[in-house]
């Protein structure tokens, strides 16, 4: 734990300074987690503020130190889920716009290393966002927590409050669906590479 439980107890009693310290200790980690969960850096602070606001109003329910971090993760997952649901329409249109771009991204991921770091970063995030759009928001979050955040099944069990087997089944299905899409993207990228120049039609980007 990044803070002493005594500090959390002070925050529970309404000590704004103590709550500020708790937020300061966790905000970097929470901001990072949210950015990977939602995949949109511009809205990360907004969602993080929502998380800490929910923490502020529910802090009095906390009884033991060990559940604090899983609980904060749960608040983070819930706020991210709400955000993803709200912006689903926006995301869908974004993904539709990206479909052509993704093919090029897959190309780039496969081989091209001549791009700048920032461009590479954007390509990777857009590719992963595109892949994760093939599963529901719940599965996207679960998969990201496992595959990207590196949470163990035990930790996920605490966050989601469900048994390990149910999590395993859900994770397996979500991963298979995303893998299938990833494979399709790679195949498309490979067929583009092998296609002779000039026969690419209108999607050649000219």
């Amino acid at each position: 734990m990044l803070v002493e439980f005594e500090l959390i107890q002070r925050a529970q009693q309404g000590d704004a300074g103590a709550f500020n310290q708790v937020v300061t200790a966790y905000r970097r980690r929470i901001l990072g987690t949210i950015s990977r969960l939602i995949g949109r850096p511009e809205d990360v602070e907004d969602v993080a503020q929502e998380v800490f606001m929910r923490l502020f109003f529910s802090l009095e329910q906390l009884r033991t130190a060990e559940v604090f971090e899983p609980w904060l993760y749960r608040l983070t997952v819930n706020a991210s889920y709400d955000y993803l649901r709200k912006s689903r329409r926006r995301m869908e249109s974004r993904m539709a716009d990206l479909s052509e771009q993704q093919v090029m991204i897959a190309d780039a991921v496969a081989g091209t290393r001549a791009q700048s770091d920032e461009g590479e970063r954007r390509r990777v995030t857009d590719t992963v966002n595109g892949l994760l759009s093939s599963v529901s928001e719940e599965d996207r979050l679960l998969l990201t927590l496992k595959e990207v955040e590196g949470l163990s099944l035990k930790e996920l069990e605490k966050v989601y409050n469900v048994n390990e087997n149910a999590l395993k089944v859900r994770l397996f299905r979500a991963r298979q669906r995303v893998l299938k899409k990833f494979g399709q993207q790679e195949e498309e990228a490979a067929s583009r590479k092998t296609r002779p120049a000039g026969s690419g039609g209108a999607s050649g980007g000219e």
């Binding site: 970097r28 990072g32 950015s35 602070e45 990777v124 790679e186």
Partner: protein, 119 residues
């Protein structure tokens, strides 16, 4: 058998590339610091929610008070009408008949009839 092995190997390679992609996604979006406005904006949100909660709490208290007052008033009205009804239903046949008779006669104003007779 060989086909199955090739498929398995292909699948493992795909999974390996997928894991690498997820790792690069993790690196592309590292933990980051908040902007200087983060804390003031967060407290502004907390205050806004707190004010909203206070407003709704006050409103609900006012509504509960009003509902209590209305129910007490209704109770009093029902009790008084029950009292009248009780005397109607618990009275003897003669008393009720008398009550009915009085009600029938009341609008006739016997004094005015007497005045009319004098004329």
């Amino acid at each position: 058998m060989i086909g199955n092995r090739n498929f398995k190997a292909g699948n493992e390679a795909l999974e390996g590339r997928f894991d690498a992609l997820m790792a690069s996604y993790r690196d592309a979006l590292p933990d980051r610091d908040a902007s200087p406005d983060f804390m003031p904006e967060m407290w502004a949100r907390i205050d806004a929610r707190r004010n909203q909660t206070t407003f709704f709490t006050r409103m609900s208290r006012a509504l509960v008070t009003f509902a209590l007052a209305a129910s007490v008033l209704c109770g009093i009205l029902v009790a008084s009408s029950n009292h009248q009804a009780a005397s109607y239903f618990n009275g003897t046949y003669i008393e009720v008949l008398k009550m009915e008779h009085n009600l029938d006669l009341d609008p006739m104003h016997p004094d005015r009839i007497a005045e009319l007779e004098q004329d």
